[in-house]
């Protein structure tokens, strides 16, 4: 056995994030870890990688007990981790990012050429296509992920921990990643894979460990199990399917006409003549590989960036290039695509995070003075309703697990009861139980006669929820389908720049 965690317990105050967890990894095995948001998956891996210390329990590597006090020790022991959130230096080249901290030297100087050569070789060896001299920040997310993996390989890791690597990837990128992982295993590496997507587990993992509330509820061989059993172990109940009942569509709530946006820096066209409408009682989905103008579309609608041409009308009023506040007052709520960048203040507590878009409402303030009692009651109720796992509403947001923070943001925006909701990647990183719940909420909002624009790189989500689907490619709308006619194949072809004729 390559690696073994024995009876690991991790306490934060009185709260047990991990409770007597045992876990093992064989050589050349892919061992998946699944579990609800806040089940303790990341925490367990952080202990293995030396970022946290177990309260009790032991870690054995190759049969020898080890104290992993910091990541450098983990790296020396051949353990590498790709984090849930990328940690690259965007302005630097891919090669520089990979060799960081272990730079090849010529005398005392950094050897630029050697670094590029070494990285190119390494990528070649493991069959990962990259260009070492590209700027990391400009590369698509899928490439950035490869860079993270290469970084770990460059450090000489034999065990690679991947924390939700597919959450941010496009379907094609996911496929490529899974191929790379198989390749890595063939070359002698072993992999721990945290994910919320059970199909990935079934497809690639040898074994899977399920965590719930910090405890192991099962370690199974993938061959002998199925997604239903796994989700039962994860959430402790059967999941339902949310149907999309057909209802009457009402007036146009959002109307975008011929908008265009060009990059201030490069002059490149980011949005090209985009036109679309969302009506009352309708969920409109935008499918597309991320980086094809979705972020710009979001910014244009929400007032975060100006458009050069065209118009945006919300709830009957022209909102083209208005301020965020004006647009929000006109009836926008918005689940942002990047929860840490746009969606939350990490150091602030849950109350402050939850209040962002509501603090000015008469229910929560009078003459500029906050009604703290009402606010706290509201936040406590929302946290409960959306099942955000936290020790208290005074905890700062950074201590929530990724999926729980997403739930908090979804709660904030969905509960606003605005006529229009822009939901960008609303279930990124949330567990299957929470995904079911958020989907339910979106459908309910639609059934109540509100308009929802759903932007998601998750095709299954788009297909399940959308009354109509638009496909975006290189800043343009390249296709429109209604619910019955949309299918994964048709969308995929358009998303990749092909056409259906």
């Amino acid at each position: 056995m390559l690696l073994e965690l024995k009876d690991i317990t991790k306490k934060y105050g009185d709260f047990k994030a991990n409770d007597q967890v045992s876990f093992s990894l064989n050589k050349q095995e892919i061992h998946a870890i699944v579990g609800e948001n806040g089940a303790g998956k990341t925490t367990l891996m952080r202990m293995l990688y030396g970022m946290e210390k177990p309260t009790s329990g032991d870690i054995f590597i190759n049969g020898k007990k080890q104290n992993i006090d910091n990541p450098n020790i983990a790296i020396e022991l051949g353990i590498g981790m790709v984090h849930q959130h990328f940690m690259l230096f965007p302005p630097f080249t891919i090669a520089e990012n990979v060799v960081f901290h272990h730079e090849p030297k010529k005398g005392w100087r950094y050897d630029r050429k050697k670094a590029a050569d070494e990285v190119a070789q390494l990528a070649e060896k493991f069959g990962m296509k990259i260009n070492p001299l590209d700027i990391a920040g400009d590369a698509p997310v899928g490439i950035q992920q490869r860079v993270e993996i290469l970084k770990v390989l460059y450090q000489g890791a034999d065990v690679i921990i991947l924390d939700e690597p597919t959450a941010v990837l496009t379907p094609l990128e996911v496929k490529e990643l899974l191929v790379s992982l198989r390749e890595l295993v063939k070359m002698g590496k072993s992999i721990i894979l945290i994910t919320h997507k059970l199909n990935e587990v079934m497809e690639i993992a040898d074994r899977v460990t399920v965590l719930r509330d910090g405890k192991v509820t099962g370690t199974l061989t993938t061959k002998d199990t199925n997604p239903e059993e796994l989700s039962r172990l994860m959430v402790g109940r059967e999941l339902k399917n949310n149907p999309l009942p057909s209802i009457e569509k009402g007036n146009e709530i959002l109307s975008i006409k011929n908008i265009e946006m060009t990059s201030k820096k490069s002059g490149k066209t980011l949005l090209d003549d985009v036109t679309l409408q969302v009506r009352q009682g309708e969920i409109v989905g935008i499918a597309g590989v991320s980086g094809n103008g979705q972020s710009e579309l979001i910014q244009a609608i929400t007032g975060l960036a100006p458009v050069n041409k065209g118009s945006v009308t919300l709830n009957g009023a022209d909102m083209t290039n208005r301020s965020v506040k004006q647009i929000r007052d006109q009836g926008l709520s918005h689940i942002p695509e990047d929860r840490y960048l746009w969606g939350a203040a990490k150091e602030a507590n849950l109350v402050d995070n939850m209040m962002m878009t509501d603090y000015a409402k008469p229910a929560f303030q009078k003459a500029g003075v906050l009604k703290l009692k009402e606010i706290r009651r509201y936040v406590a109720e929302s946290v409960k309703k959306f099942n955000v796992k936290t020790t208290s509403i005074d905890t700062s947001a950074q201590f929530l697990s990724g999926g729980n923070l997403q739930k908090l943001i979804a709660a904030r925006e969905i509960q606003k009861n605005t006529p229009f909701l822009l939901a960008a990647e609303p279930t990124r990183g949330v567990d299957i139980g929470a995904m079911e719940f958020i989907h339910e909420q979106l459908i309910e909002k639609r059934n109540n006669g509100d308009a929802v624009l759903l932007i998601s790189s998750e095709l299954s989500e788009i297909l399940a929820l959308s009354d109509r689907v638009f496909v975006m490619y290189e800043g343009k709308i390249v296709g429109e389908f209604d619910h019955q006619n949309a299918s994964e194949e048709k969308l995929s072809i358009l998303m990749a720049g092909g056409n259906n004729e």
Binding site: K325, D329, A345, A348, D352, M356, L370, D394
Partner: protein, 350 residues
């Protein structure tokens, strides 16, 4: 319980810094061959020993508290205002001139000249904000450099156009403020004046604004994550300008109350030499920009100064002992920033 805990941690860090500061002070005293206990006893007596010394310490704390509150306010919104010194001097010189040369009398004169001082100081800090908005000049640099301009400009004003020529020679200074326009003393025979009451009230008001008002909420959120604030519809420009204005006005008030409460005139160098503004900055940083904390730390730092004067009077330990302790505190502040930075990196596994 959680809340109690976070409230406690607010005070643990500065407390720890102070304890280590005093320990290092102990070593310094031992090196100078004096009794540690006697020295600290003298220091305590010099700062709090009797009503006179106590009120003296509190008086000294006034400008430190106000300047500290100013720095803390801007810092909360995410803007580093290093210009408290210049703003303080601008406020002081404006008050000193307005009170003498405008035709108002008594209490009204006092109020008007204080407001004038605060306004000019606020606008001076506003100017830095405008330069960042208009020309992308880094606030850190502009506020810092504006200090020199303010101090030299005020020096010019009192050396040339507004110099008190009745006393030949000596330090350049303005004409005395008339009796009726001065800030009254809190206790007869003591230095402590009503500026202290103003400072304490303002600390409480600011604490309230930060915690309990929508404006305070906007300030805090902007300071914590600009993008989040923008996403929520908070107007960065508006908050930047208002918080810089308030920050400058508080620093300016520090200068104004010094003029009307203790010097009764603007004397060149009298407000910049004691480093009130920088001590205020230190108080704000040690207290993590918490207004009440800033006030407490400011009083402590003032006590360090007055206490070491007592030490100098009664022992052979030089009064730079307070400088040593302050230096340790500064080290602590920078250590805190470095630690935060390193922790961040460690978490990222670099």
């Amino acid at each position: 319980m959680n809340k109690l805990k976070t409230n406690a941690t607010v005070f643990i860090q500065p407390l720890l810094a102070v304890i280590v500061g005093l320990l290092v002070g102990t070593i310094a005293i031992m090196l100078s061959g004096e009794s540690v206990i006697v020295t600290y006893q003298e220091m305590w007596d010099g700062a709090f020993g009797n009503l006179y010394f106590l009120t003296n310490t509190l008086e000294r704390a006034i400008p430190i508290i106000l300047a500290g509150l100013g720095v803390a306010f801007a810092f909360r919104a995410g803007f580093f205002n290093l210009g408290a010194e210049g703003q303080l001097v601008m406020g002081a010189v404006t008050t000193a001139i307005v009170t003498v040369y405008l035709p108002f009398q008594g209490l009204l004169n006092m109020v008007i000249s204080i407001i004038a001082g605060m306004l000019i100081a606020g606008l001076y800090s506003f100017l830095a904000g405008w330069m960042e908005q208009r020309f992308q000049i880094n606030l850190l640099i502009s506020t810092l450099l504006l200090n020199y301009i303010a101090v030299l400009f005020a020096g010019y004003l009192v050396s040339e156009p507004f110099r008190d020529t009745s006393s030949a020679g000596g330090v350049p200074q303005t004409v005395m403020v008339d009796e009726a326009s001065r800030l009254p003393k809190l206790l007869t025979g003591m230095n402590l004046h009503y500026g202290f009451v103003i400072a304490i009230i303002l600390a409480i008001v600011i604490a309230f604004i930060m915690k309990r008002t929508t404006f305070g909420y906007e300030v805090r959120m902007l300071g914590q994550n600009v993008f989040f604030a923008q996403y929520g519809g908070i107007n960065r420009k508006k908050i930047m300008f208002t918080s810089l204005l308030i920050s400058g006005m508080l620093a300016g008030l520090a200068g104004s109350v010094e003029v009307l409460g203790i010097h009764y005139r603007f004397i060149e160098g009298a407000l910049s030499n004691p480093q009130f503004a920088w001590t205020g900055l230190m108080a704000a940083l040690l207290a993590n920009s918490n207004p009440i904390g800033t006030t407490v730390v400011a009083i402590f730092l003032a006590a360090l100064d007055t206490g070491s004067l007592g030490v100098e009077r009664n022992t052979d330990v030089p009064n730079s002992i307070s400088g040593i302790i302050q230096a340790v505190l500064i080290l602590f502040i920078s250590a805190k920033f470095t630690m935060n930075f390193l922790n961040q990196r460690k978490k990222e596994g670099k």
